[in-house]
Amino acid sequence: MAFEPKILAFSCNWCSYAAADLAGASRMQYPANLRIVRVMCSGMVHPNLVMEAFSKGADGVMVLGCHPGECHYLDGNIKAQARLAVVEEMLDAYGLEPERFRLAWCSSAEAERFVEVVTEMTEAVRGLGPNPFRPTRPEDAQEVA
């Protein structure tokens, strides 16, 4: 069977989650590999959550927030951006490709952009192959974070 990546996205309630909703309302189509965890702000995503997702076998993880300057909470997305370096550092430490993680901005009207980002990510991760930490059996789950 062809490899179907599992991609997890932490999506901010005010922008990217709304864009995902709009993509639906506009009947845009994108790969069904995405699972969204709704958060109030991209600034609420602890890098440890991202690493937990990888340790539990996510093939790709995204954090999707509002464009800089548009954060519903002043600058939560800027903090998310600052934490990007931390995730990159951790991925590097574990030998995971940096492309498996992506931070992207997407306003509530940008359904098109949402679809584009998700599709791109799915394709990119499909190309990378499975997450080496992906447990084949649940009891093999390896603690990464």
Partner: protein
């Protein structure tokens, strides 16, 4: 009947055993209730029956209710000793940060074994190049492990070394049949320095120059070292070094920032991730920190936290 105690040191420096001795008079007070049945470092007890009365092939570790193991698991011998300890001891205590998180020896986990031999054995200038030793030395495992990666651990007593107060508490609690009251918060919890917030900080530096403080004033008047711009691991490191009721954490008392020797606050936490995240969240560019993995995972490189660099694709 006295409580039988067995103790073993694996990949460690014997500091933890010294910490047991550091119980001092409390040890004397406890002694009638304890029967140390095995403790090679202090009691010259051998497990292969070197006196000719035992099986030279079989590890002989006496049965004990309480087993203390210091040090991480580096080689095949360590593994076998650990497994024997587990098999023969009712309750197993991981003693010291090497046992709980790999400790300093686990810093080598940043290198694969082949690389290690190349760099420190054959490639080192002061040694004569020689082939890898294969006999008389137990073979390496692929990396340094914390105890709980190989066997089940019942009680964690981190610290480099663990404070005698907490060793005493663990033993006493066991005698009294209750959960030991051990610190679970971070070093900051025991640190009296003045904290106001980290917002003014733009970068942190390593401890190459002294902190600012007035030597005439108590430590409670000194500004938090992290807020002074020094890389202090206090917020992400388990408390305990100040003992049961110490004035301040051990290093802080000497006005030196915490290096993280008690390992992460949460047993499965990650000191590097948590520290970098805390700095980044406060607007500090973490790329300015040198040797982040080596510095921040100095004591907790096991559990796969420190890994060899993957070969470039």
């Amino acid at each position: 009947m006295a409580l039988r105690v067995a103790e073993e040191g694996l990949s460690s420096c014997s500091g933890c055993e010294v910490a047991i001795l550091n119980l001092g008079e409390r040890l004397l007070a406890l002694a009638p209730q304890l029967d140390f049945v095995h403790m090679p470092l202090l009691m010259d007890h051998k497990y292969f029956g070197q006196l000719g009365d035992g099986d030279l092939k079989r590890l002989e570790i006496p049965q004990a209710e309480l087993g203390l193991v210091s040090g991480g698991v580096r080689n095949q011998e360590h593994l076998e000793v650990l497994q024997a300890m587990r098999a023969n001891c009712g309750t197993l205590v991981a003693l010291g940060t090497c046992a709980t998180h790999g400790g300093i020896p686990a810093l080598i986990n940043g290198l694969a074994n082949a690389e290690l031999m190349e760099r420190y054995y054959r490639g080192c200038e002061t040694n004569d190049p020689a082939p890898d030793p294969t006999e008389t030395v137990p073979p390496f495992l692929e990396r340094v492990y914390a105890l709980d990666e190989k066997v089940k651990v019942d009680i964690y007593l981190p610290g480099c070394p663990p404070h005698p107060d907490h060793i005493a508490e663990a033993v006493l609690a066991f005698l009294e049949g209750r959960e030991p009251a051990l610190p679970h918060k971070s070093v900051c919890d025991a640190c009296p320095t003045v904290r106001q917030g980290k917002g003014q900080l733009k970068s942190v530096r390593r401890f190459l120059q002294n902190a600012q403080y007035d030597p005439a004033k108590p430590i409670a008047d000194m500004r938090c070292l992290l807020e002074q711009g020094l890389l202090c691991m206090g917020p992400v490191t388990r408390a305990g070094c100040s003992g049961a009721d110490g004035e301040a954490p051990r290093c802080l008392k000497a006005r030196v920032p915490c290096r993280g020797c008690y390992g992460p606050v949460r047993q499965n936490g990650n000191q590097m991730l948590d520290m970098l995240n805390a700095l980044a969240s406060n607007g500090i560019d973490i790329k300015t920190l040198p040797d982040r993995a080596g510095g921040l995972l100095r004591f907790s490189g096991a559990h796969g936290r420190l890994r060899p660099r993957p070969a470039a694709k």
